[in-house]
């Protein structure tokens, strides 16, 4: 038999496996779709809106009420409760009713009118960083608007024009250029790393699983027989169907987020396609390699899952890797997701040339080639290994 025919035979044999064992359909098709839908619908607002905040207004004048209305008018916050004292408001945070509150002490307005510089406080819980920092931003705006209002009134009274007032208030302005994600869409930040990390977890596990089940059900010798005792033919034939299915799933995910949901992709289609291919080959390669190192179904899958779970942190998309300790920064290079993230943010997200991250591309190619090192071990395992549960 020719090599191609043998590979085709083994691939057909593998397709039969994939069809008969429901786990494959579940984790190659259903679960990825669920995960993509989960993150994209969960984060569909892009930014949290109408987060509950409270007010302790002990002054209660038109000026302070205007400040409260201003707070309420922001998209991020919604005033849901008035509390008599700071202690009451703090308890409301502890009971999860509000995430932050504005405290206006008695006498604020009269001090303001008398130019005695009153003080207003804003308390916000940082146990959820996302809500905390967004509410902090609202507070900053209120603070400057509040001050601006007072200054504006006094300057107008002295006959200044609007333009003069603006210049006086803000002699220097900041122009912010949020390159590529101007709306600060968290869906873009989170989904583009979390979904590929979950997909790569499935690839890790299923690659090890499909090889391990050959041992478990003692079909390894049969596989080697079909391959004419050639491990290359056996593995290429065996992994091809899985590679194509996962590649398609990954492309469907990319198509969905970049072209249907319109996530920023300045790099255009080529980096997206390249990243898809590299992520799939590197993840499957890693799974096969782990199985080769520990040719045992459960242990190889366990190691793969432990590795994959750490990928979420070590990709460095949320808490940047550069702020972690040096040993962790080095170890992170052993995680395909780290390289995925660097290539993604440089080429797809920011549209820089692939050459700017060539080293990460090389790393993913290396992950794809890792199994070559353990071919002999896998061959031995498939032929002679006896399953121990």
């Amino acid at each position: 038999m020719t090599v191609l025919k043998r590979i085709l035979n083994i691939s057909l044999r593998e397709v039969r496996n994939l069809v008969t064992n429901p786990m494959y359909f579940l984790f190659m098709v259903s679960a990825p779709i669920i995960v993509v839908l989960f993150f994209t619908t969960f984060l569909r607002d892009g930014q949290p809106v109408d987060m509950p905040v409270g007010v302790v207004d002990q002054d209660n004048t038109t000026t302070t009420r205007r400040m409260v209305r201003m707070l309420d008018a922001f998209q991020t916050s919604k005033v849901v409760g008035q509390y008599a004292t700071v202690a009451d408001a703090r308890r409301a945070i502890q009971r999860n009713e509000i995430y932050a509150f504005l405290y206006i002490p008695a006498g604020t307005t009269s001090k303001l009118l008398a130019s005695r510089k009153p003080s207003v406080s804003f308390y916000y819980s940082m146990t959820t960083l996302t809500s905390g920092s967004l509410l902090y931003r609202d507070l900053k705006t209120i603070a400057s608007l509040g001050n601006a209002g007072v200054i504006q009134a006094s300057l107008r009274a002295r006959g200044a024009t609007d333009k003069q007032v603006m210049t006086y208030l803000q002699p220097i302005l900041i122009d912010l250029h949020q390159i590529t994600n101007p709306t600060m869409d968290y869906n873009v930040f989170l989904t583009t790393t979390l979904v590929p990390a979950v997909l790569s977890l499935f690839m890790f596990l299923l690659a090890a699983y499909s090889l391990g089940t050959e041992l478990k059900f003692e079909t390894g010798p049969n596989l080697m027989h079909h391959a004419g005792d050639n491990i290359w033919i056996a593995l290429v034939g065996k992994m091809l169907p899985m590679f194509f299915i996962f590649l398609n799933i990954f492309f469907i995910y990319e198509l969905y987020v970049y072209y249907f949901l319109g996530f920023p992709h300045l790099g255009g289609p080529w980096p997206i396609a390249l990243l898809g291919v590299l992520t799939v080959t590197a993840s499957l390669g890693f799974g096969i390699f782990m199985f080769g190192l520990v040719p045992q179904l459960r242990m190889s899958m366990s190691i793969c899952s432990l590795w994959a779970v750490l990928s979420f942190s070590l990709a460095g998309a949320f808490f940047p890797l550069a702020s972690m300790d040096a040993p962790i920064q080095s170890v992170a290079n052993l995680f395909p997701m780290r390289h995925y993230f660097l290539i993604y943010q440089a080429t797809v997200f920011n549209g820089y040339p692939v050459s700017s991250v060539w080293i990460n591309v090389v790393a993913l190619v290396a992950f794809s080639l890792l199994p070559l090192l353990v071919f002999p071990r896998i061959k031995k395992a498939l032929k002679y290994y006896v399953y121990v549960p």
Partner: protein, 389 residues
Amino acid sequence: MSKLYQDICDICLVWRDEMKNFVHDEGILLFCLLIPFAYPLLYAWIYNNEVVREVPVVVVDDSQSAFSREFIQSVDASPDVRVAYRAGSLDEARRMVEQQKVSGIYYLPPELETNVLRGQQSHISVYTDMAVTLYYKAIFQTATAVVGEMNKDIRISSMTALTTQRDEEISAAPLSFDEVAMFNPAQGYGSFILPAVLILIIQQTLMLGIGLSEGTRHERHKFLPQGMRTGRAMGLRLALGKGMAYFMVYAVWTAYLTLVVPRWFSFVMIARPTDLILFFFPYLVACISFGLMLSWLVRYRENVLLLVVFTSIPFLFLSGISWPQSAIPPFWRMVGSILPSTFAIRGYVRMASMGATLGDVLVEFRALWIQTGIYLVLASIVMRRSAKS
């Protein structure tokens, strides 16, 4: 009476049998002993530095004036940003961003000083790489703070009619704002994400351990320990006996995760011990019953890895820590209320970092008890069915 005694004897038999199984299974030992011990340490190390400091930026100073130097010096002196390079032009600066040498650009235009002195508004441009939110936050907030201070000084110096220094300060900013970040005052990433991760580890490793154990029983068709009677309330006796085994181990782990780890890594932990004991009792029972109930999905022991591992990140999101609870879409909020981890994380974070009492987390406490009741009944039914098959 003797019937009850018999039941207790049976429960103890199952308990002993499950414990034997536990210590003889490397898979269970890995997920129920090594992981709960080691992963918290690993995560604590990863997020050890808590905050992002000294984010490198490049400055393009076309102004070359006192103002621009003041801006550059203040920005460089701030804890969050470091002026790593100076570039001659915006294009050069952009190339540095592209080469990942810096994460942002401050551009000071030539007319900066002249405009300010002429009494016109001038602009400072901030360009940030949006791939990592924390970099964006550091670069933008630092610029805002520095420009805010500079603006105040400019306002003061442009006032001529006023006399005392205090008058000038008040007119520049009539209202003072105090910002108080509560409960996680350093705004640390670790303090924010770790408590939730620690609680989630309990549930996920329990599900893995129980799934492995039950999967093995399915493979071997051996559900009842020797000497145990069948018949009345068999499912409940099995569930309670197995539950005792896991409860015993996880009572220790819960103490380690909620008391020891936070102390070692000095995270805020101000919950009262009695509250913790009362709160985590239903959590553990609910998790164990949840795991036993889901074991009917596990026909082969390896499958549990595929089923459980990938859910960790979605479960973390459903708890409302990484994404504010008020912003979770209603459908996913409903899904989240199925999981014990959702309520346990919410309750623990508020008790441990905010100092809430059990009375403040009554909603979560009740929900855990309801889950405990429902899942224990369902677990008994599942146990009975598997034993009969």
